[in-house]
Subunit: 125 residues, 2 copies
Amino acid sequence: MSNTKALPLLDPAPGEAAAPCCPPLTERPFTADEAETAARMFKALGDPVRLRLFSAVASHEGGEACVCDISDVGVSQPTVSHHLKKLKEAGLLTSERRGTWVFYRVEPSVLAAMGRLLTRAAPTS
Amino acid sequence: MSNTKALPLLDPAPGEAAAPCCPPLTERPFTADEAETAARMFKALGDPVRLRLFSAVASHEGGEACVCDISDVGVSQPTVSHHLKKLKEAGLLTSERRGTWVFYRVEPSVLAAMGRLLTRAAPTS
DNA sequence: CACCTGTATCGATGAGCGTCAACATAGACG
DNA sequence: CGTCTATGTTGACGCTCATCGATACAGGTG
């Protein structure tokens, strides 16, 4: 159930390619709400296995990969599935069943939003 | 104890301002070692309170702030101290006692390294 | 020196998370 | 329809972590 439900970490403003959840970290102190939203993304990438899976998908051809292609991360198959689900719930990945295999694909706008988060707003001093 | 011990998440290559621990996420599948290193940074920012504290320091004037200026995040003072220690251990902050107060300051090179991690290598989708 | 303020540490507690084995489901193929 | 492969789900276990109150330490002030 809830296959279509994935809490978006971005404002899905139509017409805007990537509306970030928050300003750059260095621009303003985060509010409790902004911090909660952004921390969810960071926490999703805060596990080595998840980071490897995400990197494997992101670096794969076309930005998508079958589970069978990336499941060699040293943990059991249920654990891989569990982490992929977590990444999907965090809005970092989307999944699509294609015949026997399930393909995961990165959400490019989220990547851009996170990059903007860490972009130094004022590099001077 | 271990006041001077802070595991650096960057290669402290002399002469190189910011030597990132890892390539961009989209460039190559992370190795187990790279993932472990990078995940430590993400995990440090994966808590709303820590993210607020870090953002408060990063956005403060001069990139540094006294604890008394940023400790209004809804948790007790020991918890604030605990999270600041975690951020320091992750290499994201440095601390310096100046009289009565302790000032925390961001490590700019780490911020740049993390930004590079999330920089899309191939923006042409 | 006594006292006050700011910050760190300690010990405990409760919640959350990563992991696995076992089982369930989906599609392909005969 | 039966079976095989690929993937997701469930339940349980152990560990880590976020949080707090109490306490300790540091430094300024009288």
